[in-house]
């Protein structure tokens, strides 16, 4: 963007304005829903406009690869600046965030009946935090958004959740909080080292990248970053907060958690941890391979044992995110673009699966697979989408996950054939639990006489849009991969 209009700031703070507006209108629930929908659609429109209108030329004064850039002094004493930048990776993530938020607003339309304005206010505040994470180029600013994301999610799980909602909310919060505090120490240490070397104290990513970190120290600092991001990821064995948080969150909470919050971990690793500590990252690569491959199989294995559909989808997330971790570990252009694409894919398919489980839950008030069975004939539209997204999740060619997993495996095979082989075996396990899910819920024999209503127009619309996205990414991923190309070249050179 060449204009001086602070479009990135608008992207981040438009949802926050909507959130504050919702705090003010606490009377009418319907009004709150409409305001939230309007704001999220406006945000979506803004991103779409940015996609179409931006020239993809590097902005004036911006670091290489960033076609939109904003920079202003904020806390001069520490050289902390308000620096936002958007490259291809950020753009796709921001688009995903805007898209998923619209979906999240729509899927909670009827499901949330209590304290509706507050609910939507928190949802939009969460969006503000996530967009901030994807756009910050100053480590302090990034950290601020990174932690600020926690608060709305904590309330969303704790107030509108099910089951052991308080336990899950606190667990989610503490896990992430502990990890990120250690990252804060590492950020400060890096900042001081850079300041001592160059005399200019700054938190900006482009500045700190040039710090020469002694190898031993770098390992510790990288470990702190990795811990924080791996918890969010979540990488085995740091994933234990995830099944609880996903299961007990309200539907939109699970959708956002799976589709967006997990992506912030992967994004942080790609944007910050690897470029800042390339040597240490290389040293840690074997560890990442092992946890990624193990996570793929382990997540699938545990998913197979679940009877609660939401928990099953949650564990499938652990498995799918293993592919992202694998692609990052390989750090080759092909694998990395596969990992990034897989982030988007997982956001779409898993988000859709959580939405469908939520819709079933709204109808029959149960998430147990045993409750259902044989619903194919009763609710054909819902069943169709269910099957479609299950197939996408299992990696059926022609649908989105296939491309991502394929690229990751191809990219990894070149550098680490054994890891690729292990991950491939994981795919087989994925098929097993997906087929079981489809078999028990959609087909099989009817366990209980349920009278289910098929999808309403709103629900069908939500799923249709997501299905379109899944098919589009499956057959024509070119434009998205093209957006990733330039930043990945810069990252892997």
């Amino acid at each position: 963007m060449t204009s001086d209009f602070p479009i990135l700031t608008l992207l981040i703070f438009l949802p926050l304005c909507g959130s504050l507006l919702l705090f003010a209108c606490r009377r009418s629930d319907q009004m709150a829903r409409l305001v939230a929908l309007t704001v999220s659609l406006a945000e979506m429109g803004l991103v779409a406009w940015l996609c179409l209108a931006s020239s993809m030329d590097v902005a004036a004064g911006a670091p290489a690869g960033f076609f939109s850039f904003e920079d202003a002094a904020w806390i001069e004493r520490f050289g902390i600046r308000y620096t936002l930048g958007m490259d291809g990776i950020s753009l796709v993530m921001v688009l995903l965030t805007a898209f998923i938020t619209v979906i999240a607003v729509l899927v909670s339309w009827n499901g949330i009946r209590e304290r509706v304005p507050l609910y939507y206010a928190l949802l939009l505040a969460l969006q503000c935090g996530i967009q901030g994470v994807f756009l910050s180029l100053d480590l302090f600013l990034f950290y601020l958004f990174w932690e600020a994301m926690l608060i709305p999610m904590f309330f969303l799980i704790g107030i509108w959740g099910h089951g052991r909602r308080v336990y899950s909310a606190v667990k989610f919060f503490l896990y992430t909080f502990l990890g990120s505090l250690l990252m804060l120490v590492a950020i400060i240490a890096l900042y001081l080292m850079h300041g001592a070397q160059t005399g200019s104290y700054t938190f900006s990513l482009t500045g700190l990248i040039n710090t020469s970190v002694p190898y031993g120290v770098g390992l510790w600092l990288y470990a702190a970053f990795l811990l924080s991001f791996a918890i969010k990821f979540p990488v085995f064995p740091l994933h234990t907060w995830l099944p609880d948080a996903h299961t007990d969150a309200p539907t939109a909470g699970s959708v956002i958690l799976a589709s967006l919050l997990l992506k912030t971990g992967a994004y942080g690793l790609i944007r910050f941890a690897y470029p800042l500590f390339p040597e240490a990252a290389r040293a840690f690569t074997p560890v990442l391979y092992v946890v990624a491959v193990f996570g793929i199989s382990y997540g699938a294995w545990v998913a197979f044992a679940q009877t609660d559909m939401k928990r099953l989808v949650a564990y499938s997330s652990v498995s799918h995110m293993g592919f992202v971790a694998l692609g990052i570990a390989a750090w080759s252009p092909v694998a990395l673009s596969g990992a990034l694409l897989q982030m988007v894919n997982h956001g779409v398919t898993t988000g859709a699966l959580f939405a469908i489980v939520g819709m079933l839950d709204e109808r029959a008030e149960s998430r147990e697979m045993a409750t259902y069975g044989g619903i194919w004939g009763k609710v054909p539209v819902l069943s169709f989408f269910f099957l479609l997204f299950c197939m996408a999740s299992a990696g059926l060619p022609g649908l989105n996950n296939f491309i991502g997993e394929f690229l990751v495996l191809v990219g990894t095979f070149k550098v680490a054939p054994m890891a690729a082989l292990g991950a491939f075996l994981g795919i087989v396990l994925t098929l097993v639990y997906t087929v079981r899910l489809v078999q028990e819920v959609l087909f099989g024999k009817e366990n209980k006489p349920l009278s289910l209503k098929d999808l309403s127009l709103r629900e069908a619309g939500v799923l249709a849009v997501m299905a379109l996205a899944a098919v589009y990414l499956g057959v024509h991923p070119g434009p998205v991969l093209e957006l990733f190309r330039a930043p990945i070249e810069l990252l892997t050179k």
Binding site: W74, E76, L150, I159, A169, L174, L178, V185
Partner: protein, 464 residues
């Protein structure tokens, strides 16, 4: 003494006179008028101090309006104003009558204004003890409650011992250096052994005031027994004043390597034990007491680095901590109707039945836990930055891990506020004075979290 000198110590005069006026004329005036006078005068003193240029030369023997005073006096005044606003409604509800309450608050404020102006050890000691003396009275002000008396007695006994230690330490420093002047006495290099011993004893005394572990045992009982607005004042201004005293002593002295070890141990124990003990509390005021012990541990961590960054962090954190704790105790005071709302479980569902007070309490908890974008995060960031820069990596990591654990008990309050239901009746609506004070504290917590730069400039100016 010139007119400029008179102007520069005006805050001290205003608060001192106001205390006397309130005490003398109080019986003739309406309670609301008395509270009004107290609020206006303490606010006025703060504004006056903020806009009067500081002077290097003493205005009176032993009193100079230093840049540090220019920073701290408005802070103390703000804290007193909010305390008085919280107290007015609280006292009416609790039938705490009499003009001695605002008069004693003003008297404490008067002593707080003197403390950062002191240029010799004697004035410093008198100011410190006057503050504590005022709090002996304030803590026991709620005569109807048995815990109040117990708290007062405990505080008095402990405080007397602490005062004795501090006095003895100052005496040793005087014996070693031969002068009471702050700069001369501390900087003296002769008789190093005697001066070091004096320092050691002074630190014991101040550890009591700051309630650093192992001199912390009075804190939970006193916070629990004191009226909630007084607990707010006690946990903020008196702590900041004690920290400022230590800061003045350290900043004027040449590096004292022998002080590092005791301060290190005090900081370590306070952070770890304060946070761990707070995990176990069921009473919100006791929980906040242990939390304040931990926070004083963070302050000590910044102090012991002995760097200018460390001292700046102490002042910044002092200001931020004041805002956070005033918000927390103010909300508690405002929610305590006929008796103290003590148990954390009593706060179930309050976030929805009393949105403003519940919201402010939740905000202050998140801030105390150090979660952005609240001011608590900026404070913690500055502290740990100063510690790492000062070479205290190990202690900083211990502090950060203990801060992470502390999030658990702060969240427990938030969980009760919003995630548990209760059948209890809706609390009464908030009086406007308390709403105003709560909003004010909450705005500080948010504003300083997002735009800390102005406060940082003030802090740097105070240390120049």
């Amino acid at each position: 003494m010139t007119l400029a000198d008179l102007f520069s110590i005006m805050p001290i005069i205003i608060t001192g006179c106001a205390a006397l006026v309130v005490l003398l004329c109080g019986p003739l005036l309406h309670t609301r008028t008395v509270s009004g006078i107290a609020v206006v005068t303490s606010g006025g003193a703060g504004v006056w101090a903020a806009f009067t240029p500081s002077a290097a030369t003493p205005a009176l023997p032993g009193l100079a309006f230093t840049p540090l005073a220019q920073f701290l006096i408005p802070l103390f005044c703000l804290s007193a104003v909010l305390t008085l606003l919280f107290s007015h409604g609280y006292n009416l509800r609790r039938a705490i009558k009499g003009e001695e309450y605002p008069a004693t608050v003003l008297f404490a404020l008067f002593a707080m204004c003197v403390l950062p102006c002191a240029t010799n050890l004697l004035i410093l000691f008198l100011a410190l003890e006057s503050i504590t003396f005022a709090f002996y009275i304030l803590v026991t002000m709620d005569l109807g409650r048995a815990e109040s008396g117990e708290a007062g007695l405990k505080y008095l006994l402990m405080g007397a011992v602490a005062a004795a230690f501090t006095a003895f330490g100052f005496a040793l420093i005087f014996a070693g250096s031969g002068t009471l002047a702050l700069t001369g006495a501390i900087a003296s290099q002769e008789n190093r052994a005697i001066i070091s011993a004096g320092w050691g004893v002074v630190i014991i005394g101040i550890a009591f005031k700051l309630s650093l572990v192992p001199a912390h045992l009075w804190t939970p009982d006193v916070y629990q027994g004191a009226p909630a607005p007084i607990a707010a004042f006690l946990s903020t201004s008196s702590k900041v004043a004690a920290a400022a005293l230590l800061l003045m002593l350290l900043a004027f002295s040449p590096p004292m390597p022998e002080l590092h070890a005791p301060l290190y141990i005090l900081s370590l124990l306070s952070m770890v034990i304060g946070n761990l003990a707070a995990l176990l509390q069921k009473n919100i005021k006791r929980m906040l007491a242990y939390s304040s012990i931990a926070h004083m541990g963070y302050l000590t961590l910044a102090l012991l680095t002995g760097t200018k960054e460390g001292y700046a962090a102490v002042l910044l954190y002092g200001a931020i901590y004041t805002a956070m704790n005033l918000a927390a105790f103010g909300a508690i005071a405002s929610l305590s109707i006929d008796e103290e709302r003590d148990l954390i479980a009593d706060y179930a569902g309050i976030g929805f039945s009393a949105p403003l007070r519940g919201g402010v309490l939740a905000l202050s908890m998140l801030a105390l836990a150090g979660i952005p974008p609240t001011a608590g995060f900026i404070g913690k960031f500055f502290i740990f930055y100063a510690a790492i820069k000062g070479g205290e990596m190990t202690l900083a990591i211990i502090g950060i891990v203990s801060a992470a654990a502390s999030a658990f008990f702060y969240l427990k309050v938030v969980v009760h506020l919003y995630m548990h239901r209760s059948e209890a009746a809706t609390p009464r609506s908030t009086p406007p004075a308390e709403s105003l004070a709560l909003c004010c504290a909450a705005l500080f917590v948010i504003f300083l979290g997002i735009f800390p730069a102005p406060l940082m400039r003030l802090v740097d100016a105070a240390l120049r």
